[in-house]
Every structure is written in structure tokens, then in C-alpha cells.
């Protein structure tokens, strides 16, 4: 069975500092990986997906198959980045997502 691990429950950084939210997965095939974000009092929404290889709001994430990781990075954190971040995996041929336990990012002024 697939599993997604986010080792940090809370990550607190100062504004302007680099951010890395860790995500590791266990799956024997080639899954699709995603990052979803939930800002305060807003619904969960897609931030980025590994297949698009794009940067959203300054965030990037690279799929490392060797290390089975999909860490989310941003070089300079902003206060508005404070939110709950979920890493998620989708098996080929399946529709549902398997989520990690989430990491709360707190960006202090």
C-alpha cells in the first residue's frame, strides 16, 4: 500500500528565510505527486503537481524517485505563505488521493 510521510507537523520560519517542507512516499510504481494548501478559513486547493514542473507562488517541488521524495521549496518565505500544506500521491489508474498528515507553515514577520 502506498504511504505519504510528512515528518514535520509545524515549521516556523522568519519572513525572507528559505523554506523546505519535506515529503517522502512509499510506492513501488510511478505515482503522481501533488502539493495541496489550505489557507486559514479557506478550502483545500491544489498548489502544484510534479508533472507540470511549474513554480506557483514561488514554490517548486522536484520528484526524486531515487529518494522517493517530493519536497516543497521556496527561497524566500512570505507571511502570506502561512498555511497548512499537504503532500498527496495518486496511483496510476486510481482517482483518489493519499494524503500525508500535513505540515503547518508559520512565517513570522
Amino acid at each position: 500500500a502506498q504511504r505519504v510521510t510528512q515528518p514535520e507537523k509545524l515549521l516556523s520560519v522568519f519572513k525572507g528565510a528559505p523554506v523546505e517542507l519535506k515529503c517522502n512516499y512509499s510506492y513501488s510504481g510511478s505515482p503522481e505527486l501533488f502539493w495541496y494548501v489550505q489557507y486559514s478559513r479557506q478550502r483545500l486547493q491544489l498548489l502544484l503537481r510534479h508533472i507540470s514542473r511549474e513554480s506557483i507562488k514561488g514554490f517548486t517541488a522536484d520528484l526524486n524517485k531515487g529518494e522517493t521524495s517530493f519536497h516543497l521549496k521556496k527561497p524566500f518565505a512570505q507571511e502570506e505563505d502561512s498555511a497548512m500544506y499537504y503532500c498527496a500521491l495518486r496511483e496510476p489508474g486510481r482517482r483518489a488521493l493519499t494524503f500525508g498528515s500535513g505540515t503547518r507553515l508559520q512565517v513570522q514577520p
Binding site: R43, L44, Q45, L46, R95, A96
Partner: protein
């Protein structure tokens, strides 16, 4: 607004009762889902459903049953509610082969 909507937003009820949560999407999607978020913010899939196939997470008790009157709606019925059912329940939808899931605002269920 095009979106995924859920009603009610909050639901407080007593143990043993039967309750329903409604979900509607007007995005034209053909697959809908229910997720449960527990007190530790852990999100777990309960069901995924389109008009041809219902996939149930085997860890979900059979007191939970999804009901879909049409492609735009997926309601969640819960029988004989228990304290452990207290959680936030999220509905979501996507295209059959789409990557992105669109989530509703969530329903906070409190069982007393």
C-alpha cells in the same frame, strides 16, 4: 460561482442518531469523493464515486454510505453516529482522468 458546495457547514448531534451531509458540484466533473479529516488534521479518503463505479475504503465502517442521485451530487449518510465520527468531512470532485481535485469547504461534525 462554480464550485463544490457542502451543507451543512456545522453539524452537532447526539450519539446514535442518523445524519446526512450533502455535496454538490457544478463543475461538470464525473468523479466525486468524500474525505475525513481527523483532529490531527490527517486527511483520509473514504469513497470515490462516478456513475459507474463506487470505490470504498475498506476501513470505513458500513454505517457510512454514499448516495448519488445524479452526477452533480454525492451525499454522505451516517447511521448510528459514534463519538469517533467527530471530524471534518470534505467532499471533492474531479474529471475522470484529471489530476486536480476541487474541494468543498468542509462539514464539521461533532457527535456528543
Amino acid at each position: 460561482d462554480t464550485a463544490v458546495s457542502q451543507t451543512p457547514k456545522y453539524l452537532v448531534t447526539q450519539m446514535g442518531n442518523d445524519k446526512s451531509i450533502k455535496c454538490e458540484q457544478n463543475l461538470g466533473h464525473d468523479t466525486m469523493y468524500w474525505y475525513k479529516q481527523d483532529s490531527k488534521k490527517f486527511l483520509k479518503i473514504m469513497f470515490s464515486y462516478n456513475n459507474k463505479e463506487l470505490i470504498i475504503n475498506e476501513t470505513v465502517p458500513n454505517r457510512f454510505s454514499p448516495k448519488s442521485p445524479d452526477k452533480a451530487h454525492l451525499n454522505l449518510h451516517i447511521n448510528s453516529l459514534e463519538l469517533g465520527d467527530s471530524a471534518v468531512y470534505f467532499c471533492a470532485s474531479s474529471h475522470l482522468e484529471g489530476n486536480e481535485q476541487y474541494f468543498g469547504p468542509g462539514t464539521r461534525l461533532t457527535v456528543t
